[in-house]
Symmetry: C2
Subunit: 276 residues, 2 copies
C-alpha cells in the first residue's frame, strides 16, 4: 500500500463500455473493475454514472448498490449534479468523498451543504466556473476563496482535497510547472488540507502518455501531492509510484518496495507469464 491515497478512476460512465454496462445494468463489468482496483491498492473508488443526465441519480444509486457489497473501501461520488450526489449519499454505507466542488456558485451551493451534513470528504477544484486560472497565483486565489467557503460551511480542512488542476503540456510548455508550483503553494497555505489531482490531463493530446504521467506523478509527490485520481491497474504507473516513494525517503527499510517486488509489480507481463 502506497502512502499516496489513490482514487481509482476506472468506473466512469464517460468510458463507452462502462456507459453500456450502466445502461444495461450489467453488474459483472462494474464488479470486476471495483474488485481489481481495490486489490491494486485504491483507497477510494470513483463512481461516475456518465452523461445521461435525466437518469444520472438512478444510475449512480445502482452503481453504489452494486459495488459496495463487494469492496470495503469508500466511494467517491463523481458528479456535478447535486440531485445525483444527494441520491447517492442516501445509499452509501461509508462516508463518501464528493467529486467535486469548484468556485462555480451553483455547484458550490448545491453540494457544500450535503458535504457538511453527511461529513463527506470533498474534492475542491481550483477553478471558477469553467475557467481554469492560467497562473499559480490565480489558482491559489480560487483555493483561498474555496477554503473560506468550506470553513464557513463547517467542513474541516482535513476533509478537503484541493485539486491544483493539470493542463496539457501539448499547448503549454510550463503547464506542469504551474501545477507543481500550485501544489507547493497549497501545501504551504493549507497544511491540514489534502491535495489530489487527475494526473492524466497533463499528457492529453500527446503520444506515449504513460511516460509523461509517471514523470509528473514523481514530481507531484515530491511537491506535496498526497492523493491522486489514477488507474491503479496501470502497473507501470504503480511501479513508478512505489519507486518514487522509496526515492523520496518515505519507505523505511524499503519494505513497501521489496513487498511490491515480491508481488511481481516490476515484472513485465511476458516475464510473469514465463515464470508462471
Amino acid at each position: 500500500m502506497s502512502g499516496l491515497k489513490i482514487i481509482g478512476e476506472k468506473i466512469n460512465g464517460t468510458r463507452a463500455h462502462v456507459a453500456r454496462a450502466i445502461e444495461r445494468r450489467e453488474a459483472g463489468v462494474i464488479l470486476d473493475l471495483a474488485v481489481r482496483q481495490a486489490e491494486a491498492g485504491a483507497a477510494w473508488l470513483d463512481v461516475n454514472a456518465g452523461t445521461r443526465s435525466s437518469s444520472e441519480p438512478d444510475d449512480l444509486v445502482w452503481l453504489i448498490k452494486t459495488i459496495q457489497p463487494v469492496v470495503d473501501i469508500p466511494l467517491c461520488l463523481d458528479s456535478a449534479n447535486p440531485q445525483a450526489v444527494a441520491a447517492g449519499i442516501q445509499v452509501v454505507e461509508r462516508p463518501p468523498m464528493v467529486n467535486s466542488i469548484s468556485g462555480e456558485p451553483q455547484r458550490l451551493q448545491g453540494l457544500l451543504p450535503l458535504v457538511a451534513e453527511h461529513k463527506c470528504t470533498v474534492i475542491a477544484l481550483a477553478m471558477d466556473g469553467t475557467r481554469i486560472p492560467e497562473t499559480c497565483d490565480g489558482r491559489l486565489e480560487v483555493a483561498r476563496r474555496l477554503m473560506a467557503q468550506t470553513r464557513a460551511g463547517g467542513v474541516p480542512d482535513e476533509n478537503v482535497y484541493l485539486d491544483p488542476l493539470a493542463m496539457t503540456l501539448a499547448t503549454q510548455t510550463d503547464g506542469a510547472q504551474i501545477t507543481l508550483d500550485t501544489i507547493r503553494g497549497m501545501r504551504r497555505e493549507f497544511p491540514d488540507a489534502h491535495l489530489t489531482m487527475g494526473l492524466s490531463n497533463i499528457s492529453f493530446g500527446l503520444p506515449a502518455r504513460s511516460y509523461i504521467n509517471r514523470a509528473f506523478l514523481t514530481l507531484a509527490l515530491a511537491a506535496g501531492l498526497d492523493s491522486a485520481i489514477l488507474d491503479p491497474l496501470d502497473r507501470e504507473m504503480m511501479a513508478a509510484l512505489v519507486a518514487a516513494e522509496l526515492v523520496l525517503g518515505r519507505d523505511r527499510h524499503c519494505l513497501n518496495y521489496t513487498r511490491a517486488y515480491r508481488a511481481g509489480l516490476f515484472s513485465r507481463p511476458e516475464v510473469r507469464a514465463a515464470q508462471s
Copy 2:
C-alpha cells in the same frame, strides 16, 4: 538530444566482457559500444581501462586510439591514476573530461595540474579520500574546498562537474534526499559549475533497479542536475529522461518528445519488432 549532458558509461574495464576485449585488443566490442552510445545521445564517452594497474596507461591509450576515429564526441578519461590520465591526454584529439578528482590530496595533486594545463573539464567528487560525508552539509563543505582548489589551480568553474554522490537506499532511507539536497545546495553556491552523478549507485543491492534509477533521475533533474553518468542504451531510462524534461518545461512545443516518439523510443522492443 536531451538537455541533460550524458556521459555514456558502458566502456568500463570493470565489466568482464569489456576487460576481456581490452586485454585481447578486440576493437570490435569497444567500437560497437562507442558508436551505439554516441548514436543514443551521449555527449561524452567514459573510458575506463579497468583494474590492471600496471598496464592501465597502455590500455587507456589503446582505448582512446581505438574509439576516437569513429565517434566525434569527446572522451571522459576515467582513472584515479595520474600516469594513465597523463598518457591519455597525450593522444586525445578533443579536450577530454577527467573522471575524477576528490578531496583526496594525492589524487588532487596528481590530476589537477593536468586538468588545468590541458583545459580539460573535470568531475569533482564530494568526498575526501574514501570517506563520503553522510550529510548534505558535509558534502557541501568538501565541495567548497574542492572549488577553492580548482579555482586556485586555474580551472574555471564552468569546467568543473561537481558530483554530489549517491549512496544506496538499501542501507539509508533518506540517501536520495541527501543527494537531492546536495544538488540544490551546489546549484545555489556554484551557479557556473555543472553537476553530474552516476545514477545507479542509488539502487545498489535492490531489485528492479531501473525503476528506482528513473525516479531518482527525474527528481535530480528537477533539483538541478545537468549531466549524468548513465547507460544511454537503456531505452526506458532515456524515455523517462525525455518525458521528465518535457514535464519540467524544458521542451518547447514538445519538439524533443515528439521527435523521440517518432524515432520509436517509447515503443517496447516486441512492438518495434512487430512494426518492422
